[in-house]
Amino acid sequence: MTETATPTKPKKPGVYVCKGCGIGEAVDADALANVAKSEFRIQTTATQDACCSDEGVAAIKADVDAGTVDGVVVAACSHRVMADRFRFNGTPVVRANLREHVAWSQPPGEEDTEMLAADQVRMAITQVQLTLPPLPSQVQEYSRTLLVLGGGITGMTAAREAVKAGHPVILVEKTDQLGGWANKWAGRMPYRPPYRDVQDSGIAKLVEAVKADKDIDVKLDTRVVKTAGQPGAFTVTLSHGGQESVVNVGAVVVATGFRPYDATKLGHLGYGASPDIVTGVELEAMLKAGGELKRKSDGKPVKHIAFVQCAGSRDPDHLPYCSSVCCGVSIKQALQITKADAKASAYIVYEELRTPGTAEEFYRQAQEAGVIFMKGKATKVDAGAMQVSYTDELLGTEVPLAGLDMIVLATGMVPNSTDPDVPVVEPEKSEAQLKGDINPFSAIPVAGYKPGGAEGPTPPAMPHLDRIPEGGPILNLQYRQGPHIPVLADGFSDSHYICFPYETRRTGIYTAGPVRRPMDMAESAEDAAGAVMKAIQAIQGSKMGVSLHPRVGDLSFPKVGHEKCTKCRRCTVECPFGAIDEDETGRPIINPARCRRCGTCMGACPVQTITFDNYNPQMVNAMIEANEIPDEFSEKPRILVLACENDAYPALDMAGINREKWSPYVRTIPVRCLGSVTLQWVSTALQKGYDGIMLMGCKSGDDYQCHFVKGSAIAKERMSKVGETLKSLALEKERVTMAEVSIADSHRVPKVLNEFAELIGGLDPNPMKGF
């Protein structure tokens, strides 16, 4: 393909069959080349001893350069390996997996193995014939500037890191000074060796550095009114003292931090009953003020102090999670008190003390200094007697700590994923957005679906859904899906915390610091650097018109055939990343830079009019139909596996590498995400005569593994409707199933396949065969 020509689908693909890595011994390569020749009338076919060798690659390249082929099928190993070897100047290349899925996982020389290999070749040729080489989405006017929201340690570190990487920053802080919570802290937990002593927060120095940096435009007393656009070209409206201004930025880092848990809800721990029962944050301010620590009530010096850990944390009635820093903070405060007054007794009443990493050194230091640690759950706090009663797990008895001078409740962190100072906009819509996003089982209320209807699954009760932090949206996104950055359980902003921790579900917007998960100052600073790097990638990606995580560098993007579109809005509602807006007539408008190319919109479209150049409903349909289906008397069932290429397909490859065997009746097609699976493929397969269909993908739920967050959950939802289709075809329900697979499941996958094959083998053949 030359730069100027409009890309076209390959008309004369070449097929190259490899005999290396055991393929030659397992199957008849010449017979496979013959399949291409006789069934597809392919002019250029060849068998090679090793396609990936220098000679093999050179031979293919010669054909491409000579113009005899305009598309390449390499029938060799999985597309997950050697991708860089088979790259011919933009010519479409499709791989037929004869190694991991045939030679290494099937017995050599058998009829079934040959049939599987032939089908692999058929699918690959069909695929390449329908592949249009994608062109990048139109390069737009993009901004290199980053918007950082929040002037605390995370935000300031982010700003500094961005400038270091050569990007100007607009730093927006809603209060009248930089520093955030750190301004109120009397020192911080040690973050440098030997990790034993309380260290200065260093915040003043950081504030100075940020103020002095000419590339950081600090905007104090400023709020974000609204945000529109897409990565590379966000337009953000800011408000400062009632004056609105618009800035163009390329990406946004949200570092809004946390708010302490509302201690007034902790009446059962005595908060509010005595001025000497305080929260950790309040004690921190008292320590910051300096001088001798005195009681608020009568000014007497504090000699006996008890810290109640997990006050309202890891408690199903309050915060169900651990805020991870409260233990370290209480240790720090107790150490400061003990060091200032050798006669003081500081008690820390804990259930489990969590001191990850180097904090263990700090814990030991506190023990050496004589801080007294008591393991047990605080059962009662008596404000009158200033008594903390707890059940000591090491003594097995109730112990009263009576006559304390001060009681400190170590409260947890609530993420500022909403802005408590901003009124909730359109309360019902806002709540629906946040809750609908976190509840992986929630029905999606759009045309064609029946939320809570007879066929739909009843969403299970999820108590944590009520714990969305109160407040309005922080960025007020002008997106079809609502103004919020979606949150997961417990109100922290949603991200794929295993693989892509900084990514939010709004591409180009990255969260860092405690808004993402509870963390301390050192972790926040590190987080800020990570998020900034991602934000810079987002700007670069939008400049080049390529996708970001997880399909990094993908040029394809969804296109809508507006003449067929029924304006049903499923795509705009179901997109996990809010990439699709609507115009005033209800037509979907795709923002390519927001898109992550998962294809969930494609799977959603009831008229299959959303397509990618190199991946679309028609292509997979044709691939399904390309396979040869033996007649019902042959006793050779066919099972279609649509395998997510992020986890399930690699797990299958790995199983092949481990030489695990699985049923030869399985035909596997990799899909971008289970979210991209359209029900049409299922019905095509059933009509073609496949006996069973399995969707193999990632775990859904609030501990999802889906690389596109909601894809597998949406697929699950759609599959729950497939029963009707089966019924109308008079087929058994068991024929269509879903399997959750993780990338580490290579030993389990063959079992899953074999069990399903056995089940299908037990059923009558699909009566549609041969029609």
């Binding site: 006996h304 006669k343 007794s345 008690y347 030991r364 023990q367 050496e368 200094a369 004589g370 801080v371 007294i372 640690f373 008591m374 393991k375 000591d392 090491l394 003594l395 112990v399 009263p400 700590l401 009576a402 006559g403 304390l404």
Partner: protein, 200 residues
């Protein structure tokens, strides 16, 4: 002289743990105890203690002053040092127990002569001082005698069979007690040790 308890007579006292940390020999190291229980598990005499060392240390932290000061745990310690050898946090458990025992006695929580172990220690040291050796018969006899004639008779008769068995196997000799050569010198050493100890 030991610092008095900050609030004697209280069952629970918030200052007690600090007092132990600051006043008991090895108490500062006790703060490092992580309650793993290796000490109690290693203790050959642990089953005879009302609390093992681990639990006693936790009671100290919980301010259970009364229970700690009347515990028989320190008195039962045989100073075998297994706990010290095995403690992963290098807490000198034996020293702490020894000094706690002294504090119990000193602060009047335990009458100086009330304990069986103390009676045994006295018999032991009498023999050691007199002969430079421990003579099983004399130490045992003197120890039993400290409980009065009736108890002496009862316990002696209970152990008679064991004693005869020992003699039969040549494990216990009959005749005058063995003694070291330089008894005078040994006495001088012991006197000096006592003098050093009394200096505090």
């Amino acid at each position: 002289m030991t610092a008095p308890l900050p609030n004697p007579g209280k069952k629970y006292d918030l200052d007690f743990a600090r007092w132990v940390y600051d006043n008991v020999n090895g108490g500062d190291k006790m703060a490092l105890c992580m309650q793993c229980g290796v000490c109690s598990g290693s203790c050959p005499i642990g089953t005879n203690m009302d609390h093992g060392p681990r639990k006693l240390f936790m009671m100290i932290r919980a301010g259970m002053q009364e229970a700690v000061m009347t515990s028989n745990t320190p008195a039962n310690c045989t100073s075998c040092y297994r706990c010290v050898v095995r403690c992963p946090r290098s807490v000198p458990v034996t020293y702490i127990l020894q000094d706690l025992l002294a504090k119990q006695a000193e602060l009047g929580y335990r009458a100086k002569d009330s304990n069986e172990n103390i009676a045994f220690a006295k018999s032991f040291w009498w023999s050691a001082r007199a002969f430079g050796r421990t003579d099983e018969r004399l130490v045992t006899a003197k120890y039993y005698w400290s409980f009065g004639p009736a108890e002496f008779w009862k316990r002696s008769m209970e152990n008679l069979k064991i004693a005869l068995g020992f003699i039969k196997k040549g494990r216990m000799h009959i005749g005058m007690p063995h003694s070291v050569k330089d008894k005078k010198g040994l006495k001088a050493i012991l006197d000096k040790a006592r003098e050093i100890e009394s200096r505090g």
